[in-house]
Symmetry: C2
Subunit: 187 residues, 2 copies
DNA sequence: CGCAACATACCAACCAAAAGGTATGTTGCA
DNA sequence: TGCAACATACCTTTTGGTTGGTATGTTGCG
């Protein structure tokens, strides 16, 4: 991004750039690398400029995760639209979205980002609210213990993926994914 | 702990106290609350005293997780000793240990501790090494996809427990646990 | 329209606090 | 006495955050 004097004023773009850069930095260097200084610099803005858009660092982090939840929600919605079978459709979509959204590239700082952000009560609340709301909405089709186990296994796979030491990939992610989806149909 | 002038010199005890206090602080306030100052203070020692036992903060964190892995390993070993059925015995023990070691009390900063510590490559390596070694050792009895799913579901349950917003407990942890164990027997 | 009045979007410099770490003492046990 | 086990005091860096100012729009009014 060019410096402010060279570009047209476009606060919405700056806001987006800040969020994008924050996400990139956090994924690459973990939560310790997510400093307002670094984010502002990466976005071609000064710290003061950042604080104009986000009144505090917490607000920035909240914006980050609001984006993330929104994206996950959209992916799940899309996956559900293509699923003819009603029973377990949310669980299948959850599995698909979880496996598809695995951040590729270097994986270990990403884990720290996600879960350490959940130390922030406001972020934790965001996630919990979203999840319980979806669970409530699809209670009729996805409220079975066997499906809960599938979702938890997906979470576990997500965690395993994030925590894999250096290149060591998760053995057979695709096969695992299909197996979990099959579990929602045959039970 | 009394101050140094009032107590007998007992470096081993001080070391243990430091690790225990560090664990407590991290569980209560998350990784951000795990400062050498706070740990030393809580243990009734000054910062200089802490740095005498642990040459750096990273060393302290590594000691913390070495303890954790050791405890988990002991629990799994104990659970396996009481399990007559060979097939899936490691997976069952893993499930039992995972559910039994759920840190009670307020849970959200704990999640941050665990996973953010895994941003430290040395800690991540510790965990990965332990896990792959156990997997290799029990390859004959626990190398089936269905058992892998059970272990991942246990991880997911662990994550869900850590991430529950304020009091909201995981619905039916005990039932879930039994269900997972049953899955290792009936498949 | 044209221009003053105001609001928005930034920048540059600075600040207090807290962090990890070190250098140098002091104390107590063998 | 000598060394391990601490305490005290200090340093450096980095952090989130603030302050005052400036450039760029936007709006109301004669």
């Amino acid at each position: 991004m060019k410096t402010a004097s060279q570009r047209k004023k476009d606060p919405e773009l700056v806001r987006r750039t800040l969020l994008d850069c924050a996400m990139r930095l956090a994924l690459e260097h973990g939560p310790a690398g997510l400093t307002v200084q670094a984010v502002a610099e990466a976005a071609g803005v000064t710290k003061g400029g950042l604080f104009h858009h986000f009144p505090s660092k917490q607000a920035l982090v909240e914006g980050l995760f609001a984006d993330l939840v929104e994206k996950l929600d959209a992916d799940i919605e899309a996956a559900m639209a293509k699923d003819p079978q009603p029973r377990g459709s949310f669980t299948r979509a959850y599995v698909r979205a979880t496996f598809d959204d695995l951040p590729q590239g270097q994986g270990n700082p990403a884990a720290a980002l996600y879960v350490s952000a959940l130390a922030e009560p406001s972020v934790l609340r965001m996630w919990a609210d979203w999840f319980t709301a979806r669970l409530e909405r699809h209670r009729a089709t996805d409220d079975e213990p066997s499906l809960e186990i599938v979702r938890m296994a997906a979470d576990g796979a997500w965690l395993a993926h994030l925590m894999r030491a250096d290149g060591a990939a998760v053995p057979d992610a695709a096969g695992l994914r299909e197996r979990l989806i099959a579990m929602t149909l045959t039970d």
